[in-house]
Symmetry: C2
Subunit: 199 residues, 2 copies
DNA sequence: TCACTATCTGACCGATCGTTCGTATAACTT
DNA sequence: AAGTTATACGAACGATCGGTCAGATAGTGA
């Protein structure tokens, strides 16, 4: 199962696991090769060799975060029944994911979206692409909920996507700032109210 | 009218004006003395002398942003009638402030709160304090709207504070990421719906 | 005009940044 | 066992970081 390059792949993953923790706390710019090397007890050049540039390290870190997020949030959501249950599960998982501090600084994408929203470059572009993916996913789940008869047909889907996402991101940042978990409950309360109390 | 230290005070304000623009784009950590000096055509040590340390520069930048935000958003809001109109005006002004890019990277506090939410130190503490101030202000305005009979007495004020703030921050980041102004309208739509369509 | 003080500069400090390169060490292939 | 490749290291690079300091310059009050 190791493949031919098992050792390198393992180091890479260990490195990226540390990288997402650093990035969620100090940002993808605060993520430096020297610090990564020191914390992992590896050489700076050794880590550098795995990625080729700082920017590639940042992009690899985003990919890794995406993987973990998919595993913890997206995949479980798709095991819930189509429609409103799936939508609710997605947000419950997202909030649990942030609350559990799977990454040291909470939700990776909330952090990175805020960090790069006003900048230029490849990293920003990838972050924007992720935002699009997320919005499209949410749009689909909401439309399915309408199809299933769980939501009113006339509903403004884009508006709903905006609001629900706003709740989740706010819960993440507020809980980190105030060190008070209750904001996650606030987000879920807001979400359920917005989707209608029924069910 | 110059007072005794007019020249220094002027340089200080020009420096801070540039600092908030840099900070809203690249964060308060991305704000460096060298860059500030280069853009302002001043010497690094000259700028440094005004603040004494990088951290003091960051704190001064926050104070400056607070001033400008107060002038553009808070003060106008208090000229609107007590109750729901004041609440609505506050958010309209906030959204206009971000949309107009008074600071190059949009809302200063949305950016900085996301940047420092998972860190430690004086800067974080000041940011948290600002968040508290904002929450208390919003709480007061909502309570006044209840007193004026503009909102239902039984309403969950903290919950409302959370949701309304979430809309504003999301609009700021989404508009920056997508370069699409419409998110501000989304936020105001969500806000009005949440406060009740009437009036 | 003169003295004083506020303001700003330029050279420099040690530390760290991302990056390059030659080389050593491990691991796998044959 | 030998040969080959993957992996990691250590020393060094120019640039930049925050910070220090002695001295030049400018503005003020007497």
């Amino acid at each position: 199962m190791d493949g031919r390059h098992a050792r390198g792949a393992h180091t890479r993953r260990v490195t990226l696991a540390r990288a997402v923790d650093i990035a969620t706390v100090d940002g993808l710019e605060g993520l430096t090769l020297g610090r990564l090397a020191a914390e992992l007890q590896l050489s700076k050049s050794g880590i550098f060799a795995h990625f080729g540039s700082k920017e590639e390290l940042q992009l690899a870190t985003i990919s890794f975060a995406e993987e973990v997020f998919t595993e913890h949030v997206l995949r479980p959501a798709f095991q819930a029944p189509r429609g409103k249950p799936r939508l609710l599960t997605l947000f419950e998982r997202w909030m649990d994911f942030s609350r559990a501090r799977v990454f040291a600084g909470g939700c990776f994408f909330s952090t990175v979206m805020a960090e790069f929203d006003a900048r230029e470059g490849k990293v920003r572009d990838v972050v924007v692409r992720w935002r699009t993916t997320w919005s499209e996913l949410l749009t689909r789940l909401i439309e399915e909920a309408v199809e299933e008869g769980h939501l009113t047909p006339g509903i403004d889907v884009s508006q709903l996507v905006f609001e629900l996402t706003a709740f989740g991101r706010a819960a993440n940042h507020d809980s980190l700032l105030t060190r008070d978990d209750s904001h996650y409950d606030r987000a879920l309360t807001a979400l359920r109210a917005r989707l209608g109390e029924s069910d």
